[in-house]
Symmetry: C2
Subunit: 338 residues, 2 copies
Amino acid sequence: MTKPTPDPRHTLTLRDVSEASGVSEMTVSRVLRNRGDVSAATREKVLEAARALGYVPNKIAGALASQRVNLVGVVIPSLSNMVFPEVMTGISETLEGTGLQPVVGVTNYLPDREESTIYEMLSWRPSGMIIAGLEHSAASRAMLARAGIPIVEIMDIDGDPIDHAVGISHRRAGRQMAEAIIAAGYRRIAFLGTQMPNDFRAKKRLDGFEEALARAGLSLVDREYYSGGSALLKGREMTAAVLNRTPDIDFLYYSNDMIGAGGLLYCLAQGLDVPDRIGLAGFNGVELLDGLPRKLATMDACRLEIGRKAAEIIAGKAMPGEKVELFPTLQPGDTIRR
Amino acid sequence: MTKPTPDPRHTLTLRDVSEASGVSEMTVSRVLRNRGDVSAATREKVLEAARALGYVPNKIAGALASQRVNLVGVVIPSLSNMVFPEVMTGISETLEGTGLQPVVGVTNYLPDREESTIYEMLSWRPSGMIIAGLEHSAASRAMLARAGIPIVEIMDIDGDPIDHAVGISHRRAGRQMAEAIIAAGYRRIAFLGTQMPNDFRAKKRLDGFEEALARAGLSLVDREYYSGGSALLKGREMTAAVLNRTPDIDFLYYSNDMIGAGGLLYCLAQGLDVPDRIGLAGFNGVELLDGLPRKLATMDACRLEIGRKAAEIIAGKAMPGEKVELFPTLQPGDTIRR
DNA sequence: GTGAAAGCGCTAACAT
DNA sequence: ATGTTAGCGCTTTCAC
């Protein structure tokens, strides 16, 4: 009298649930998707059977049949620098409840990887794509433009978006920071950044920064680049190197908060008078800074808001113009003279 | 004489490439997958046509037909604490070149979200799943066990894996740290952790830690939990609270390096003699510590190695036993008396 | 080396 | 409220 247990090595299909419940495949499908009118009785029978069997629907088949995929591709350069996790939070939060699911791809700032990641993602026919930056290979742009889905380029608005863009002007952010520094009376200003040839946003910030310096008749008195390793440690080392080489520097502008924090710890350890003898500023507004002995000047990159807005566009909750510009706030902290 | 440009609003299919190149769909498919014997001439024709049209294959249809999906589901609780990004790096590195692609889902330590993430992922019929932790809902375990694909539970080995497990013993890690602390002569020891009811690994570390204390006739003299906010700042605040409440504490054991780093900065700012008057230790071995003024004692969680090993199992490059145990090394740094 | 036919597991559209 | 039919865009299998 053994019930014929279904072969556990066979992945279950709608048909199995249909047979187990004595209801047609179509009605089973309706129940499982909460679609159309199904009587409470059949509904119960079906759910019961599906649960008992441990049925997991096959979205591949569903997607092919319905031409609908509830996935949103998200392509970002890195996960390790505190900025993209927060963007992801904004995206996930907003997608929650829309039935859409983010799928993340990381490119490590490599254009080739970006291109293949985009290709790979598009081949799954997602409902939309969110991509960091406005600089992409011609092939990438072409693929995205042809895909027939909403494309949102995030973080940056200094350039021409393929479809939509949500971000800040990094050029302007650099300019603004330079103006604040100059207004505070600093004159011998150095730049310290990570060597990332493909970090176009850092480059734009520096461009804007130097532009504002030039307008004030100033220029950078030194600059230092590093790559790899612990950002905090690198910040220390770079700062030591620059201050040894050019002792009369009175301001250190960092391309991001982590190396800025390293620099700040170094200056404090050296007993330098911050911000009177020397000022410092970073970029991003990472919450890490809240725990430091002194608060580094920085500029909020609007990461959470960017994630939210981008997701809203994909979810059709926003009917924006081509570009959505957000405006970062300068947080002077304790490292710029007042 | 206008060439009939294909409707750009229509997503391209193999058929379009077939017509454009005058080669059968089947042969086009072969070329695009580098399968079987195709003459160099046809090959060129096909690739040319595909490129010209901007064809992107439809993996949904491909997967349905071939019953093969090159995706590996990775389910982790968080992206923001430095530990999982490194695990991801290990996974990506190892999957590189195998044709497999990781797809990440984040659960925020919520069992319900974990369950739905697993369900969602399994419904895409991935080639394997990598999941943080050994504690899952009964439904999650059942789904995974039934899926018929390799399942690797990572980070922890204190428990019963569904299929494979790769990780360290957190219980033992806690024990080891306690033993080192006791051996260094500390006796009034407090614990500081983030309030995460579902962080089972932190809990196991604490269990092991207290077990070793008990064996030495000791017990925690104080404990403090916090949740949310900047970990560095929380570390500061918790440390201040504990030291005010129990001034004669001589050692602070933190559940992770970030709050430990905050505590260390606090102690140094207070002018406390570290490690003689008071010692500190964290957990994880994050590279961030390299940039601090003094190096926090910690224990490497073998994150990169865990990611690599897990991916090797999925990729079939390793034929391991059920559990793969890795052994973290204790890094005494500058905050434990020698 | 190339092509034709069948079908993967599901859902849209149309019955009833 | 439920069932039937005809694909979705590929790949497998087999034929030539």
